[in-house]
Symmetry: C2
């Protein structure tokens, strides 16, 4: 069976998990604690990070975008990047926006500070970082709203890897309770549509041991 | 004419410049000072970063990897990523290694501290960052050596975007004099082969106004 090495809430692992789900590709999951730097894991991925996908034929793939490009090339029936080069560039531009810009400006400041520090016993969240993350997220939710008022999905009129990358980041921030959905209705409606897609229950239902989701995370389920 | 917005020494701008050169695609260059946040530039690239490529037909492309994927799709005669999905994944894995890991662990600590701080009048380089960058670079040069002892080029037996990404980062660090080539002969030989390719003179010859290259940068020219 295809195996995805991942970690709870990790947005880049979720991105690949969503892409596999969207393409109807079955897979098993293994939790990898990358800070333990297991020799067997480092042999598969010298960069030592997640996610890592091992295909049925033994092909080893690391880095969420590398994996998603591979999946779109090998399993093209359900296309997630686009058909012509300009559309593909627009999808990839937005994937990069959420993978890099949103991740750095929002997710690292909120999820890494509140959740990963707790898991790794690294002390309390850094106040200025949390405040920065909470301030920065509005700009990104506004940008989602701006795009969705002009298009059906983020990169155009079909669901794509751009929606997946954005939702993967937001779902992790939502778990720690820091997405001000009530102030961003268009973005909220877009996110509700994604959560409703087949197989995406884990975005809401996955639980981190000894770290409960914020109350408003659970509310958004209803 | 095709226009590339770039900045002196900026490794991601250099990456696209090398890819265009490799594909024999002509282009003009414009220096963009992104910190000035020009309205016209932000309208073309809301992320506000470099590089930005405007194609002859007006297509606007941002993010170095998005641009390079586009160029490989639209101008496939000279292929820079690879022909089969596994090879393409390996090229992209290494591109990501140098674009993200090397950039964060080495380039930001050395080029941003020494050069960009001087250009932006932000004070002296942060000593611990410079020391970290100088310590980290050995591991990356060792990895280049490890790969080149097994393959002709970084991602396999043909020159690829992986070589371009790595050389783009290293060329910027080389300008500030912090590549310990003398301790890494295999990596040095690989880099000399890249510098000798047609059209890559700018890797050594480009000069930043009011910021001379380190003496050992000039020595590696001969």
């Amino acid at each position: 069976m295809r195996m995805l090495f991942h970690f709870w809430l990790h947005p880049f692992s979720r991105k690949v998990r969503m892409a596999l789900t969207e393409k109807n590709l079955s897979f098993d999951l293994t939790i990898e604690k990358t800070w333990e730097r297991r020799t067997e894991f480092l042999a598969m991925n010298p960069a030592g990070d997640l996610p890592l996908l091992v295909e049925k034929n033994g092909t080893i793939l690391s880095n969420s975008q590398v994996i998603c490009e591979y999946l779109d090339e090998v399993y093209p029936e359900i296309n997630l990047i686009g058909h012509d080069p300009v559309q593909r560039a627009e999808t990839r531009r937005l994937v990069n926006w959420f993978d890099r810009k949103f991740n750095k400006e929002v997710t690292e400041n909120l999820v890494d500070e509140k959740l990963m520090k707790a898991i790794l016993n690294l002390g309390e969240p850094h106040g200025p970082s949390v405040r920065a993350g909470r301030a920065n997220i509005h700009y990104h939710l506004d940008y989602i709203g701006f795009l969705i008022e002009r298009r059906q999905w983020l990169a155009g009129d079909t669901f794509s890897l751009a929606d997946i990358s954005a939702a993967a980041q937001l779902s992790a921030v939502d778990y720690v309770g820091d997405v001000p959905w009530e102030q961003h209705h268009v973005a909220h409606q877009w996110y509700e549509k994604i959560k409703a897609r087949t197989g995406y229950d884990f975005l809401v239902e996955e639980r981190v041991p000894d770290f409960n989701p914020a109350v408003n995370h659970i509310q958004t389920v209803s």
